[in-house]
């Protein structure tokens, strides 16, 4: 017996979950963003202040103390911090969504048991609130970049495309972990370790070219690599993304989202038995 309200054969079904319940997704994401700073004095200001502070810390630690340089062309202590920041934004967006996914259903027990709630939309509101924070960090980066890097590269207009290619993958991860998290309560710990590993094994703290040749291409097994490099390209280096790579990525990402969504829809009927 399948209980899904969607036609799972349709590869676009994951996005119907978004369009059908758009108002609900927006409401939940909004609540998620504002709820995080509820009761704090500065409120939403923290969303801006956090990334800014991080940027200052990176600059001081990596640029001034370690004198890290991303490549040879520059002497600016800000450059490494900016590149690091661009990559970290992507990986923290990912790890935040993934880590929250494992407890997404368990923390919303009342939605499982007490009302007919489209649980699949929780994924989109989680991703939505993550995207909001990603946008804020990116805006901070873009505002600061002209001061330290000379000019704002025109290629930033491609950034939304890069993020859009990433979203199906992230949403898929959230569906998968949200469902598994209900049944495997240890998943939460594992996810923390895995997301950190993925962060270190992506070209975020170092350029890919620093890796010895035999291992270099292995980095592409990390689902973050292509997106991280594309973001650095468009936000820092003023280069368009590698379109070919991105094209393959979006297909794989879409396929993954479709399978993960189908998995979620198939396994959700067991939620009520165990939450």
């Amino acid at each position: 017996m399948t209980t899904s309200a969607y036609s799972l054969i349709d590869p676009l079904s994951p996005y119907q979950a978004l369009t059908r319940h758009f108002a609900l997704v927006v409401q939940m994401a909004k609540r998620d963003v504002t709820g995080r700073y509820r009761g704090s004095f500065a409120g939403l200001f923290w969303s801006f202040f956090n990334p800014l502070l991080m940027l200052v810390v990176y600059t001081f630690v990596f640029g001034v103390i370690f004198r890290s340089r991303w490549n040879e062309q520059t002497t600016s202590p800000f450059q490494y911090a900016m590149v690091l920041f661009a990559g970290l934004n992507i990986s923290s967006f990912f790890s935040e969504c993934a880590n929250r996914a494992t407890t997404l259903i368990i923390e919303n027990t009342s939605f499982v048991k007490r009302v007919v709630f489209p649980l699949e939309t929780l994924t989109w509101s989680t991703v939505g609130s993550g995207v909001f924070h990603l946008c804020v960090s990116t805006i901070v980066l873009l505002v600061i970049s002209p001061f330290f890097m000379g000019q704002l590269p025109w290629t930033v207009i491609f950034f939304p495309i890069v993020v859009a290619c990433f979203l199906p993958f992230v949403a898929g991860i959230v569906w998968l972990l949200a469902s598994l998290g209900v049944y495997l309560r240890d998943l939460r710990q594992v996810t923390g370790i895995v997301t950190m590993t993925l962060m270190f094994l992506a070209p975020i703290l170092y350029p890919r070219t620093l890796i010895p040749i035999p291992y270099r291409e292995w980095l592409y097994l990390n689902p973050l690599t292509i997106i991280v490099e594309a973001s650095q390209n468009v936000l820092i280096w003023g280069q368009p993304p590698a379109w070919g790579q991105l094209g393959v990525y979006v297909l794989a990402s879409g396929l993954f989202a479709w399978l993960a969504f189908a998995w979620f829809e198939q396994t959700r009927k067991g939620f009520a038995d165990v939450v």
Partner: protein, 465 residues
């Protein structure tokens, strides 16, 4: 019944709860049996099962108000949850015509971390209201809930009454076609309950269907056109609320060893009583009711074996013991289901082990909640029986008119006397016997006492006056 006349249609509904020792077993259950079947291995189940509902079928027409009664754990909430769609049936089908608004046990799916306001918006969206509709109804919801500035606090800080106020306010303001209430209102204060019932009436008048679970027999009888009796997951009987409630109470107060036979009895009665099902005025209570001219009708009441107080408490007796407290009709038949406005005798006996002086006896009638309604003693001090010999027995009888509204009542018994100077209780029973007063159609008494108050009402024309 035409196809769009129905509101709820339940067919062969069964629910099996699967109880898993660990969450991961649920996942195994979803995957492994398929693999095992593929490999032609014997499949094993990873859960222990519990059938909470067996093969329940019924229909509810538009505009009906249907009550569901049954003991704790009989499957009422399970049934309602499947009607609301929060629980998937194991077997059978549920069809509901129109928008369902529900107030299930312990909440309406509010998220405890969210504020009242956020939860209202969220519930509204879940009920399928548009932004405009939400805005338009927001004030009506706040007005009804009357929880003041708490609306901007997280609902986890609400009292259970406030929670229900808000949940109910939402449920009735989304213009439901079917309103489902699961014992929800019992935590509201009286003023709020009254307001809710008034509103429920309004909703019924507008043609919506109401389905509700209540343990308050009076509410079910007052409010419903029809009632269902569930027991251990089975639909034992359905019909007029009074019929069903009386069966339910019989079951409730029956001793454990009689359960099976009473269940069979009720189930067997299903066919003949089905005629009663419907919305007509309730039939007279019992065929034996007759008026004897003086306004006091003689007994048409009956005896239910199980109607024995579970709360009986005996003080330690000294020198005399009370036994066999019971109620009988004037012609000496033992009863415990009483008719309003009839006369009965409360009787008990006292056996004296020692000789006592200044003996007098007393009784007291109390409500379920322990409120003392009326009492009587055989004499005042000084006019007591001077001496009662050891070995003798007293029969004590209190003739009383049944001036009580429908409900359950408990009887105390006590005997006082002295062996020397001091006058003490020789024996004393709290809740030694109980009786129920049945609801008689047409009687207008409310709350506890039925003093046969005669209401009159007329329109007074101002100009004429």
């Amino acid at each position: 019944m035409s196809s769009d006349d129905f509101s709820i249609r339940v067919e062969g509904l069964s629910k099996r709860y699967e109880i898993y020792a660990r969450p991961v077993d649920r996942l195994k259950q979803m995957i492994l049996p398929r693999v095992q079947r593929g490999l032609h291995w014997p499949a094993r189940a990873w859960f222990s099962e519990f059938w909470a509902l067996h093969d329940v079928s019924f229909n509810v027409r538009k505009g009906e108000t249907v009550g569901i009664v049954g003991r704790n754990g009989s499957g009422k909430s399970t049934l309602l949850q499947m009607i609301c769609g929060t629980l998937t049936p194991t077997l059978g089908t549920v069809a509901v015509n129109g928008r369902v608004a529900a107030l299930l046990e312990l909440g309406a799916g509010f998220n405890p971390e969210f504020t009242g306001r956020e939860n209202v918006r969220l519930s509204g969206l879940l009920y399928g209201l548009s932004e405009q509709e939400l805005k338009a109804r927001f004030d009506a919801i706040l007005d009804f809930a009357e929880i003041g500035e708490f609306i901007d606090q997280p609902v986890k800080t609400y009292s259970s009454g406030m929670y229900v106020r808000l949940a109910f306010a939402v449920a009735i303001n989304v213009s439901p076609d079917v309103l489902v209430l699961d014992e929800a209102l019992s935590v509201g204060d009286e003023a709020f309950q009254r307001k809710c019932f008034a509103r429920i009436d309004q909703i019924r008048a507008s043609g919506a269907t109401v389905l509700f679970v209540s343990h308050a027999a009076g509410t079910v009888i007052e409010l419903c056109n029809r009632a269902l009796l569930l027991d251990r997951g089975e639909l034992l009987t359905e019909g007029s609320p009074k019929h069903v409630v009386s069966r339910y109470q019989k079951l409730l107060y029956s001793p454990v060893d009689k359960h099976e036979s009473i269940r069979e009895h009720i189930k067997a009665g299903k066919e003949t009583d089905a005629l009663e099902a419907g919305t007509g005025p309730p039939a007279p209570i019992a065929a034996g009711a007759a008026d004897n001219g003086s306004g006091k009708r003689w007994d048409a009441s009956s005896f239910e074996e199980g109607l024995i107080p579970k709360s009986t408490f005996r003080y330690d007796s000294s020198g005399a013991s009370i036994f066999d407290p019971h109620i009988e009709t004037l012609d000496g038949r033992r009863v415990n289901i009483l008719q309003p406005q009839c006369e009965y005798v409360y009787a008990y006996r006292v056996r004296f082990e020692w000789t006592a002086s200044n003996v007098r006896c007393g009784m007291l009638i109390r409500t379920v909640t322990g409120l003392e309604l009326a009492g009587c003693i055989t004499s005042w001090r000084g006019e007591s029986l001077p001496d009662v010999e050891a070995g003798s027995e007293l029969e004590v009888r209190f003739l009383f008119p049944c001036l009580f509204a429908s409900g359950a009542y408990f009887l105390n018994a006590g005997v006082q006397g002295s062996f020397g100077e001091e006058n003490v209780y020789l024996d004393r029973w709290i809740d030694g016997a109980m009786f129920k007063v049945i609801h008689e159609p047409g009687r207008l008494a409310t709350t506890t006492m039925d003093l046969d108050i005669k209401p009159a009402i007329r329109v007074v024309n101002r100009e004429a006056a």
